[in-house]
């Protein structure tokens, strides 16, 4: 093994100003992803701030020309998982924000509140929820989502499929969790699943 293999050539570092510009540009996306992950706006924003600081100190590892959004999502996701384990913060739901935005899809008989959807989303196991968020809301391809989550493309496809099926079922059956009471249900579901994934080590 040659010497040069050991000392990896320094990556062309991104200009800090450019890095900061790109980082600033993805903040709204980080907030949206975080909100979907943890439900509460204030916690989500704390998470984004944490991720931004981490991204900033890790900027030498960012490869210019690659997706800043995908890169920072990985950081945000890791911060989320760490916080979940450490603080076990509840995937609480911020009623205010979604309630203000009423969804009444045109040509749909029963209009649906975004807040209903958000609550339903929060009942999903975290890894399905994040897969659906990435692909169905964030617009990532299955391949990109798989990279972000550090798993196989097939796994992402399966998670998205299951998440979609579960949501559809919930909505079809009118079994969307109600406001406060079912927070407990959602929380239990999330924490239970997290416990499993943490223990089986598949969610790192």
């Amino acid at each position: 093994m040659a010497e040069s293999d050991i000392a990896a050539p320094p990556r062309p570092a991104i200009d800090p100003a450019a890095f900061k510009r790109e980082l600033t540009g993805v903040i709204p996306h980080l907030r949206a992803f975080a909100r979907g992950l943890c439900g509460r706006a204030d916690l989500a924003d704390d998470l984004v701030q944490e991720a931004l600081l981490k991204a900033w100190s890790a900027q030498a590892r960012f490869e210019p020309g690659t997706s800043m959004r995908a890169w920072t999502f990985v950081i945000l996701r890791n911060a989320y998982l760490t916080d979940m384990r450490r603080n076990r913060f509840r995937a609480d739901y911020d009623e205010g924000v979604a309630e203000r935005t009423l969804v009444a899809p045109a040509s749909q008989e029963d209009p649906m509140h975004l807040s209903d959807l958000h609550r339903a989303l929060l009942t999903l196991p975290p890894e399905r929820r994040e897969a659906l968020l990435l692909v169905g809301a964030g617009g990532f391809s299955y391949e990109e989502a798989a990279q972000i989550c550090g798993c196989a493309v097939g796994t992402i496809k399966s998670r998205v499929g299951r998440a979609r099926a579960a949501l559809s079922q919930m909505i079809e059956d009118g079994q969307i969790p109600r406001r406060s009471t079912d927070d407990a249900v959602a929380h239990a579901a999330i924490m239970g699943e997290l416990e499993e994934t943490v223990q089986s080590g598949t969610f790192d």
């Binding site: 900061k20 790109e22 980082l23 600033t24 540009g25 993805v26 903040i27 709204p28 996306h29 907030r31 949206a32 992803f33 909100r35 979907g36 924003d45 984004v48 701030q49 931004l52 600081l53 900033w56 100190s57 997706s67 800043m68 959004r69 924000v97 979604a98 935005t101 969804v103 899809p105 749909q108 649906m112 975004l114 959807l117 958000h118 339903a120 989303l121 659906l132 968020l133 692909v135 169905g136 809301a137 964030g138 617009g139 391809s141 299955y142 097939g154 496809k157 399966s158 499929g161 299951r162 979609r164 099926a165 949501l167 559809s168 909505i171 079809e172």
Partner: protein
């Protein structure tokens, strides 16, 4: 390439939006999906998505449209501080 979130109007089935390759991939997916082996997945993908799939996008986009809280501007300012390098 940041912010490549150009969203087509989601009147089309979200599945096609997610998989621009369209029907071919959709059929492959049908085979690959072990979840509901007996059910024609293509059909469910087309019929069950619109209402909430659109809502999911809107949930996400509604956050994108929010003005950034001041705390973010403050944080970004702090980043330039050499102590944060």
């Amino acid at each position: 390439m940041p912010l490549c979130l150009s969203v087509p109007p989601l009147r089309q089935p979200i599945f096609e939006y997610l998989c621009p390759e369209g029907a071919a991939l959709s059929q492959r997916m049908t085979k690959d999906q072990p979840m509901k082996p007996a059910q024609p997945r293509r059909k469910s993908a087309r019929t069950q998505t619109p209402a909430w799939a659109d809502g999911l996008k809107r949930l996400y986009d509604s956050v994108l449209d929010e003005p950034l809280p001041d705390t973010f501007a403050q944080l970004l300012e702090k980043l330039d501080d050499p102590a944060n390098g």
